[in-house]
Symmetry: C2
Subunit: 246 residues, 2 copies
Amino acid sequence: MTAARTSPRDRYREQTRAEIKAIALRQLAEGGAGAVALTRIAREVGLSGPALYRYFANRDDLLSSLIQDAYDDAATAVGSVGDQLPPSPRTSLRLLADAYLGWAAAQPHRYLLIQGSPLPGYSAPADTTARARAVLGPFLQVFATGEPDEEVRPLVAELAAWAQEDEAAAAWLREYTGLEPEDDRAATALAGAVLAWSQLHGTVSLEVSGQYAGMGHRARTLLTCQMSTLAAAFRLPDDWPERATG
Amino acid sequence: MTAARTSPRDRYREQTRAEIKAIALRQLAEGGAGAVALTRIAREVGLSGPALYRYFANRDDLLSSLIQDAYDDAATAVGSVGDQLPPSPRTSLRLLADAYLGWAAAQPHRYLLIQGSPLPGYSAPADTTARARAVLGPFLQVFATGEPDEEVRPLVAELAAWAQEDEAAAAWLREYTGLEPEDDRAATALAGAVLAWSQLHGTVSLEVSGQYAGMGHRARTLLTCQMSTLAAAFRLPDDWPERATG
DNA sequence: TCGCGTGAGTTACAGTCTCTAACTCAAGAT
DNA sequence: ATCTTGAGTTAGAGACTGTAACTCACGCGA
């Protein structure tokens, strides 16, 4: 990718960074973000504590790196569904939601790392929002085909204003739907995506943090019901509308 | 309340515990659960570090205490709406959801403490589940009046089985709805409550952890839309059904 | 191929935090 | 009036983050 010049030292450095991140990821999986400890990583790599600060400025920097990877990975998982362009928006929504849940369930701690409670004292780098929105992009595409019911129109209205005032929002929309912010469908897409995100996050995070334990339902069923209801509220069609391919 | 015998020593002890908890609560509000540090609390109270271990067995014990209070407080906030028995189930749902959001928004860190990512190494005491269910109890009452639409029936089915197999679930239902687990309305109530919980948590936790920052909508609007949709999916009536008062 | 800059690594240490051990002391129950 | 018990103390072990000041050898440029 951006391998402008790759000297032996650079390569060695990259390799060590990767090794550190791999161990950090394991610690994350074993005990959550709090369990990621530079000292212990160093011991495992075979270095003395302070050596790690050659590779990451501090603990937050290491976590940021894990967070970025996680967002990118999630975006890929969700995006790969969007790329296949399933038969209908309805189906697409179901598949996207499944992919989201599937990704999170397969690596609960990584999900909690990016979507759980904010880490104490941690402040996210600037591009985090963009990465987060990349995960939700494919949902925009689906909901752009919808016709919002009465019940969700207040939200559509609020987001219509946003699309027209916020350049980043407009760019996000353009990238995934090709729509201009003035288009009614733009606001519809935003409303659908926000609703879907909110419901996905609710169900997935309760599942992943074990709060459904002992309750007699599967998260998958719950999520499917929610997406059906959402599809109904936006009257998602059973076929993709005509559009310029490419 | 349970003041069986209150010796001077007991009173002093209770007062000190309360003071410790008050400071802990402030630290929680200032920097999240991770920022609650016994050492610093001790300094503030004017004691030396280890003295605090006379009052709380360890850090987790202190946090458990805060967690219990938070659940009880939330249950009271939500329950006070349920007690007023608003004009209709539909209205009731809206008011309950508002109360939930309102409580959480007013004290974000306490919300994250009980509903955020699990704390590293922390294992909740046994009665936590019961306390959590007390918060959701009033929702059972509302959804017991519903008629589930097609889209949510898979969830109702799964929860019907649960109600009939799990004694704790049955007891929960009985307490808030008076229904026996065989009753169809029991499963409906459970499904509604679980859906509502999931959606409340999604919206509230994204709001409270600041992930909506920079997006052009209010959490309140989002939540209202969701509750409307949910009310529609359960065909919540505009009047309470007849029932034995008492 | 030689030399030297730079980056990788070291030890030592300061500071924060949790929690245990072993002790003192006085309030209050009997 | 006694003596039990609980509140408080200091000392200290063990993790962890992060800084300072140092050594050393790799590998780039002349």
